[in-house]
Symmetry: C2
Subunit: 203 residues, 2 copies
Amino acid sequence: MSSPSDLTARARIRDSALKLFAERGIDRATVRDIALDAGVSSGLLRHHFGSKEGLRDACDEFALGEITRIGSRFTTFQVLDRIDPGVRLLQRYLIQSMLEGSAAGNALFDRMIEYAEQWLATTDIKVADPRAFVAVLSAMKLSMFTMRDQLSRVLGEDVDEPSGWARMLQASVEIFSQPIVTPAQAEQVRNAFARLDSPTPEE
Amino acid sequence: MSSPSDLTARARIRDSALKLFAERGIDRATVRDIALDAGVSSGLLRHHFGSKEGLRDACDEFALGEITRIGSRFTTFQVLDRIDPGVRLLQRYLIQSMLEGSAAGNALFDRMIEYAEQWLATTDIKVADPRAFVAVLSAMKLSMFTMRDQLSRVLGEDVDEPSGWARMLQASVEIFSQPIVTPAQAEQVRNAFARLDSPTPEE
DNA sequence: ATCGCCGCTACACGAGCGTGTAGTAGCCTA
DNA sequence: TAGGCTACTACACGCTCGTGTAGCGGCGAT
């Protein structure tokens, strides 16, 4: 994930795999294309990683380690004016992993949940079901990445570019900094579920 | 999307395709498996739909039409105590389409945006960038579906079951019915972006 | 009656995939 | 200097995929 060509072949293969996995998804990224991108034969890929899944595992481990090392920008509201392309690639790879439920994806989502639970404890927000609260909240934060293409299309500009990125992030802040549904509406939902829980009073 | 076997072969193929596309994704659902599931030969599939992509288009059109006919539960906060399995399948299919950016997915997301813009106009919520606001808000609502597997895993129960569904939906209401970030934090983000926009005052 | 169309099946084709195998050049050790 | 290990390539295998083709039974129209 650093300089282009003065890396070991193994590292170059891993970087190419990470890139193509992130861009196309696991299935659509072929070992031949990965090898081509890394400038090696497909046999060498097999030599170093055993199989496509072995390569995938190596990517998982690497991506998880890098994102940990870099810090948890992923999980915070921290404002990023300019995201490093390498980090963006890691993000996309891990988003793919989360959507698909791989080990690395699960681990990262768990970490986000844990982090969010700690954050929740520092606030004075009162919730009935903290676990569900942080889980859904985390999923919502991630949606800005999972729905990246749709958001870019609807906004008319790439959300990876500084301008689109700013619009998206500021929108999320506006959403989270004020009540979107009224207390009356919330009450209504609560009542609806309460009515479902209790056996119908009569009929 | 109605009874199992007293349908025309064409309709059965379409239903099976919708199911397998939704469950496995477009690529992983093969024409042979779809034909098998529908109880016909793979040649008949080709006879009726021309190609896999033709079948896909038919599914798009059907799913979009059905979801329109049924109503826009998709786009509202309406509480659903028990979701019809057929509707759930449609949802999953369309979610896949949105994640992948197909024509039907784009159309549905556009419709959600439009609907959300109308809704926003009826409220007294003040936002700087309405387009971005409703886009991100819509993405966040969808995240409860795109992250379905992760949410189920973290909650320890299937969010498609009534119990998990209720927890998830109530959590989303709690999130949207109160400020999550403080005014100070929101201000901080605004300032950070304002500082980026203006050429650095000195130095 | 027969002709043609429609719903439908069986089977083959070619491409692309992950994987397996054989072999080579170079370096490190004994 | 001989042996062996490591990095690496070329090429073939077998499978699965979407697609193509040939043909068959039944039914409605002439």
